[in-house]
């Protein structure tokens, strides 16, 4: 029961809802400064049949523990504290042994050899207090794919315990940066969401900006200075095929896919006027959505594809507006102090992330699609380019420090403002874009 209540608290935290003070007192969950006590979970090393599968089992459990801890919703208990050593995951664990070490949940698994080069990864998730199995899952995979399998297991655990989709089996595309501030080399790169498997996607002689994934995580759109004026490109990350979207008369930039992947929204500049257009990727026909004399830029679709949010300085300063996907019914939604930039509609649809610039500082914030419930999550000298995790719970963004020795880094924060932390990258990095969950 206590576990269930904890999960309830966890879910409340996930939903960004204030937990009523009365309930806190009843269940003794320590919430200080908005911090929810993470749920303690035990993930013993997965069992193996031989040294090789045992090694694999250790690696997989290690990745699962790291994934769950990174969310700050869980605390992975130290395996050295475990009292019970299970030898067969098909038998119920000795729950009392896990209660003693204060584990609320237990995920125990094993690796079984399959066809050559293949293994089965099986695990069971237990509610320690209720003494029941919450989940039993088997993955069949190639041995070399063990890391992704571990992320999938983490996603399954996350979902079972929070009721929300996970985000661990996903990737981040970003712009890798090398060299001094006044002579930066920028290259398109990709990595797993936990920073592993980084690789360059392009050679890197041309300035590239603002990559974005398509809904299948197969194609990336970005702006490149390979040609003048700079234009929007498409890159298939499996085949490496790169394609100029179209040879427009003016600069095109700030591209983003529609949720169904059929259209791109982008901005185009003609003689200093910047407007938003959509392009049908099949027919390559375009439609102009804004016609005012201001800067209309950084458009982002709602997950239903029927509306979008963008920024415009038509009213004097950059502010956020929503409009229908055909450009009709524009409506200003930001009314707070300062300048509002770079809006991104959450994949869940419930929030819009943005960059607010006010009193010499930049902030990452979120608001409802109608502009209500604005909340600043973090601020610093320079933050930019928020991107949502596929489950709409975490935001990854760029942070750049002041001065000649400025460092560009990726950071993440969850939508409650908790768990602010650096995302490891091989070098300096900007412009992160989170992929959808991988298939």
């Amino acid at each position: 029961m206590a576990t269930m209540i904890r999960y309830f608290i966890l879910l409340m935290a996930l939903l960004g809802l204030a937990v009523p003070a009365a309930s806190l007192a009843q269940i003794e969950v320590d919430i200080t400064e908005g911090n929810v006590d993470p749920v303690p979970i035990a993930v013993p090393n997965f069992l193996g049949q031989d040294p090789e599968t045992r090694a694999l089992g250790e690696q997989i459990a290690e990745v699962i523990r790291a994934d769950l801890e990174s969310s700050a919703l869980f605390r992975a208990l130290d395996p050295a504290s475990f009292l019970e050593t299970q030898t067969n995951i098909d038998y119920e664990p000795t729950f009392a042994d896990w209660r003693v070490i204060k584990a609320d949940a237990l995920a125990s698994g094993r690796i079984v050899r399959d066809a050559p080069g293949r293994v089965r990864v099986e695990f069971r998730l237990w509610d320690v207090f209720a003494g029941t199995q919450l989940q039993g899952i088997r993955f069949s995979t190639t041995t070399s794919n063990w890391r992704r399998t571990a992320h999938k297991a983490s996603d399954a655990i996350y979902k079972a315990l929070t009721g929300e989709e996970g985000y661990f089996d996903s990737r981040i595309v970003f712009v890798d940066q090398r060299g001094p501030k006044t002579n930066r080399q920028k290259r398109l790169a990709i990595m797993d969401q936990d920073g592993f498997n980084p690789q360059y996607l392009l050679g890197g002689s041309d300035l590239v900006i603002s990559p974005q994934f398509d809904p299948n995580s197969q194609t990336i759109t970005f702006m490149s200075y390979e040609t003048l004026p700079p234009q929007v490109y498409l890159l298939n990350i499996e085949t490496g095929r790169r394609e100029l979207l179209g040879s427009f008369p003016g600069m095109t930039f700030a591209p983003r896919f529609s949720p169904d992947g059929r259209n791109l929204v982008l901005s185009m500049e003609l003689r200093g006027n910047i407007d938003i257009y959509t392009m049908d990727l099949m027919t390559r026909s375009t439609e102009r959505l804004t016609t005012d004399a201001g800067i209309d830029v950084s458009a982002s679709f709602a997950p239903d594809g029927r509306r979008m949010v963008f920024q415009s300085d038509r009213g004097g300063t950059p502010q956020l507006y929503t409009m229908n996907a055909d450009g009709s019914s524009p409506k200003r939604i930001s009314f707070g102090d300062g300048r509002y930039n770079q809006p991104v509609w959450s994949p869940r649809g419930d929030k819009i992330a943005f960059v607010r610039q006010n009193r010499g500082k930049f902030s990452i914030g979120i608001m409802d699609p109608d502009g209500r419930n604005e909340r600043i999550l973090t601020d610093d000298y320079l933050v930019d380019m928020p991107s949502w995790s596929p489950n709409g719970r975490v935001i990854v963004f760029t942070k750049e420090t002041r001065g000649i020795d400025s460092r560009a880094e990726l950071w993440s924060v969850d939508m409650t403002g908790r768990n602010l932390k650096r995302v490891e990258t091989p070098g300096q990095a900007t412009d992160p874009a989170w992929s959808p969950i991988l298939d």
Binding site: S267, E269, R271, A293, S406
Partner: protein, 193 residues
């Protein structure tokens, strides 16, 4: 390699004129459904200045260390030593100083026809990346429009915005930011791209 549109509505054809298999559309056609076009940046408020008498006759008496007339070095030298003009924070209108420099640039460009120029617009770091790309585009267009108003052939000038991607000063202070908010007339000898 480039996938070109096969079916375009009349509106988008005129609005975008995606350069088809032929060479570049020249000049760029007017976008059709313009409700309200960007007002041309503020030009010369006063009447045309009188043509300045040449300060010197460079061909006859070259001072030592003076650049060769018509060279890239001469362009910078003749226009105040800096091929950049500077903007106020978040502005793309031209200051009196900037206009003075651009008059000199235009005069030089009108004298030496063997150059084209890429007019670059730059922004300081205090703005989001995509907004700054837009702002840089407006700055580059302000510069181009002024040079054209001073008689420079539009076809000799192209614009590009680098937003805040190419700072010339790494400092995060008023001085550094001010230097990074610029419009740069980047000359290229005709025949080179």
């Amino acid at each position: 390699m480039i996938n070109l549109p096969r079916t375009l509505t009349l509106v988008t054809m005129t609005a975008l004129m995606l350069s088809a298999c032929a060479t570049k559309p020249d000049p760029i056609p007017e976008p059709q459904p313009v409700v309200e076009e960007t007002p041309a940046p503020i030009m010369e408020p006063e009447s045309r200045p009188e043509v300045l008498a040449p300060v010197q006759s460079p061909s006859t008496s070259l001072a030592p260390n003076q650049p060769f007339p018509g060279s890239l070095e001469d362009f910078a030298y003749s226009t105040g030593g800096d091929a950049r003009i500077y903007f106020s924070y978040d502005q793309f209108t031209l200051s009196a100083d900037a206009r003075q420099t651009l008059r000199q640039q235009a005069e030089w460009l009108n004298r030496y026809n063997s150059y084209t120029a890429v007019v670059e617009g730059h922004a300081d770091e205090r703005g989001t990346r995509q907004y700054n790309i837009a702002l840089g585009a407006r700055r580059a267009n302000s510069v181009k429009a002024f040079l054209v108003s001073q008689g420079v052939e539009p076809s000799r000038l192209t614009t590009v915005s680098y937003g805040k991607e190419r700072p010339i000063d790494g400092r995060s202070n008023e001085e550094g930011w001010a230097r990074n908010r610029n419009g740069y007339t980047n000359l290229r000898p005709v025949g080179q791209s």
